[in-house]
Symmetry: C2
Subunit: 344 residues, 2 copies
């Protein structure tokens, strides 16, 4: 199915999954392309970001952000092109980063819209290494994790959009970096391409033992984006004064459970004087403009100089977003998952 310039394809939430989402929880609809009114602009999406946090939006459990309503367009960040504009500062042809969701076209009043260079070589980077996932890695690692040279930093989902940046930035700061990933191919990539000191396959039967052996000095910073059984293996290895930036729990999003009781966790936090801190990157856009500027400058330079590697998993076609997202929650993607929306 190709995009038609008269039709706006929208993927809406059809029903709420109780466990892992399946195709039936999404519905593709076709609507007329809207017209920009006064104080509005019309945006056409070129790239759509798919991220684990979207699973939370499909649920009506209380979280940090409102749920997507049944029948509403799935939320998501896009790189979009301005088609029409009745807004000062935006003109047709401008390239922007916006939160227009899983659809071809959207109206915008300019809020939460950031301009990108119109000739940006790889616009999809604004959805990954130079965007929200990259800033998540940078802010969580540096502001909460406070890694010191020589310390051991462990990160799960090591080849993902966030984990790959966490590990590489930690390496650039002089740390020993141990990744955790699913499967031999990803682990090999983390070591050979990303430069991690080691990467452990969490599917291995002796995963916990391998992790312990890879961290002979214990763990000083654990960047948590997984939870579940991976965290259970990490917890006994956390050193005194360890820091645990907690930015995601993908293993739990579909209802998976952890066996450890909170009393075990809390006792460990106490005796090891561990600092565990949940964070949502959106807070950091508001409260730390200094850090955001440092991120853009530093990560942008590392990327340009080839000191930081970045891998995308590109899926073509908006209509394939549901299946790609279902696979993301199962760890089937390899690198930052983005949807290339059909070009006109």
């Amino acid at each position: 199915m190709n995009a038609d310039s008269n039709i706006n394809r929208r993927i809406v939430l059809a029903s709420r999954p109780q466990a892992a989402p399946t195709a039936e929880h999404f519905r593709l609809e076709q609507h007329p392309v809207p017209e920009a009114g006064a104080g509005q602009m019309l945006l056409r999406a070129e790239w759509l970001s798919l991220d684990p946090y979207m699973r939370g939006r499909m649920s009506d459990a209380p979280s940090y952000a409102p749920s997507v309503g049944i029948g509403e367009v799935m939320t998501g960040g896009t790189v979009s092109r301005v088609v029409q504009s009745n807004l000062d500062g935006f003109k047709p042809g401008d390239l922007v980063m916006a939160y227009t969701g899983w659809q071809d076209y959207a109206l915008s009043d300019g809020s939460l819209v950031t301009k990108l260079p119109a000739d940006m070589a790889q616009p999809s980077h604004a959805l990954g290494v130079l965007g929200m996932p990259g800033y998540t890695a940078y802010a969580g690692l540096l502001d909460i994790g406070q890694p010191q040279a020589g310390e051991t930093v462990v990160v799960a989902a090591a080849t993902g959009a966030v984990g790959s940046v966490v590990g590489q930035v930690a390496k650039l700061r002089g740390c020993r970096v141990v990744g955790i990933a699913g499967g031999a191919e990803k682990c090999e990539y983390a070591v050979k391409e990303l430069g991690f000191d080691a990467c452990i396959d969490h599917r291995a039967a002796d995963f916990a033992k391998q992790l312990e052996q890879a961290c002979p000095q214990g763990i000083d910073v654990y960047f948590e984006n997984v939870g579940g059984a991976v965290f259970d293996a990490v917890l006994p290895l956390l050193n005194v004064h360890a820091r645990v930036p907690l930015c995601g729990l993908i293993a739990q999003y579909n209802g998976g459970s952890a066996d450890t009781s909170s009393s075990v966790l809390m006792r460990r936090l106490l005796t090891r004087r561990i600092h565990m801190q949940g964070f949502i990157i959106f807070d950091y856009y508001q409260k730390r403009p200094d850090l955001l500027a440092a991120f853009h400058k530093e990560v942008g330079a590392w990327l340009a100089e080839g000191k930081l590697r970045y891998r995308e998993d590109v899926v073509d076609g908006l209509e394939n977003a549901p299946q790609a997202f279902i696979g993301l929650l199962q760890g089937k993607n390899f690198g930052k998952l983005v949807i290339r929306i059909d070009q006109k």
Copy 2:
């Protein structure tokens, strides 16, 4: 039994409790009073502090400090008088704060010994409001809790050595303070004498509901020294960006369990961006001399001016220390528990 100047009474660990300690886990021994050798002084204890952390020392489970060995003297802080001294800077009659444990006499090489004013009006305060428990409250609340005027601060064991200082300092900083304590008498004391805005009895059948009603704006800082069922009631009330200084888990020390799984706790830490940090006050003596000086100055002044109330639960006689300690773990004390060792 009275102290005899030729005999050193020592209370040693007889065996390790698996659950709540009982009298059989302690043994009172009598030994000759030792003589101070070169570079040593002989100290005679006048006051012994009993604190919940001592339960951890009775166990051989890994913790932040070594266990007491079977047959060894129970550890503990004391206010002691110098009897003999072959150490520069200490002379007979000097009053000191030391860690000489549950015994009348001890030799010391001066390490971990702090001089007190020889004419100190209430020397036992050095074991409580002006000592380790007071500094625990001050450092944990201010450095990790970061309470802001108008915020809601909740503290359990509200009339205890730590909790009473946490709540009063938070009030002095302009916070709404809700205590949690065991029984109507302690709750009344927290409100009427300590000036808390409310205090909830954790033994009440509708404890969780009462706590929620007492915190209509949620909880911004929860000073955790209890764990277990109390924490389960607090967790749903923690606000976005709440801070949880974690300094003790008395409800768990005897093996009590919490039902909440760590996945529930972690999800809450994440979505509410909660900062939970275990701490051990001994770290703060090393790393924050500035804060220690501020504590002595500020809390000392508040106490002298009557702005801060302090209650002691005094038990006479070293031989009664085991029973008093067993009661401490059951919440039977009312105020800071200290043993007044028989005077010569």
